[in-house]
Amino acid sequence: MEAQIQSAQIQSAQVQSAQGESPGVSVRTHGHRRTYLIGLGYALALTIASFWAASTDLVFPPGVPVLLGVLAIAQMGVHLVFFLHISSAPDQTNNFLALAFGVFVVALIVFGSMIIMTNLNHNMAMPTTP
């Protein structure tokens, strides 16, 4: 009976790893509080750095938005890896491809809109004084 249960467990583990994993479950990071705590540490450091960068005079002012962007992308990466457990492991191919497509669409919408609207603003600028 016990052997049967064990073999069923092995089989289910086999099927799962063969068919990939859902996001949030990684064979390597599965079931560890430490993963979340490491993620919390990185996320806290990046958050504090972001708020510091926005209020400090030490950074060259035109460079602040770039710095904020880099810190935000880094923090999103930390959240994806340590909280959602997304990785490029073979059992995560589907999740990773879906994420890549999502990021592509998001970038297309955001940067596309900004480029088009800036261009329109530039072309349609009215002279302020007659």
Binding site: Q14, A18, G20, G69, H79, F83
Partner: protein, 206 residues
């Protein structure tokens, strides 16, 4: 090497066509992941609108005049902490430890509720100072973006209550565990969106 690890290592030799259907847990997780990504595309549209309109204040107050960084920092900490307690709660669900699930998920609810209360307080302040969504295009875009995020958090909190009631009445059935798992994904995804909100809306205001 244990038997399970051995099975994991050898399973890659099985051809794709002979592996059979994926278990429901994997399919449900992947489907929910696709939903989350499409949800993030909605936020991308709102972010795009905000970026385009953030300068259009129509003579009204600008973001730099309205936003309080300390307030946003506390909101951010609440949401980040709730993400971690939600992670601990998910681990407890996997181990089917009832008291631990209640504790961590109650903490998650409390932190999420605090975040929501702070956000609603900020909205109230803006409205009483005549900076409502009808004041300028900038404020319309602001309320649409931050309001949609707040709405998602509200839905998440309602979902969390339902899940805790299901644990109380149905126990840790595979179905309930799957739903809890999807809730965890949803909650972490909201935190990722918030990173974009506080960077672009609050810290980017100048």
């Amino acid at each position: 090497m244990s038997a399970a690890e051995h099975a994991l290592a050898s399973s890659t030799d099985v051809p794709l066509s002979q592996r059979g259907p994926a278990p429901t847990r994997v399919v449900a997780g992947f489907g929910f992941w696709l939903f989350l990504l499409s949800d993030i595309v909605i936020f991308a549209a709102l972010f795009a609108a905000y970026s385009v309109l953030s300068g259009e204040t129509a003579g009204g107050p600008s973001g730099a005049e309205l936003f309080d960084h300390k307030h946003v920092f506390i909101e951010t900490l609440c949401l980040l902490a709730s993400s971690v307690t939600c992670g601990f709660g998910s681990l407890a669900v996997q181990r089917a430890e009832r008291p631990s699930v209640y504790f961590w998920m109650a903490l998650t609810f409390l932190l999420g509720g605090t975040f929501l209360a702070l956000e609603l307080g900020e909205f109230r302040d803006l409205l009483t100072h005549g900076a409502g969504p009808s004041r300028s295009a900038f404020l319309s875009a602001f309320f649409a973006l931050v309001g949609t995020h707040g709405l998602h958090v509200t839905i998440g909190l309602c979902w969390l209550i339902v899940m805790l009631m299901q644990v109380a009445t149905l126990g840790f059935r595979p179905m309930v565990a799957r739903r809890f798992f999807c809730f965890g994904l949803f909650w972490h995804a909201l935190d990722i969106v918030w990173v974009g909100v506080f960077t672009i809306v609050y810290l980017g205001a100048r």
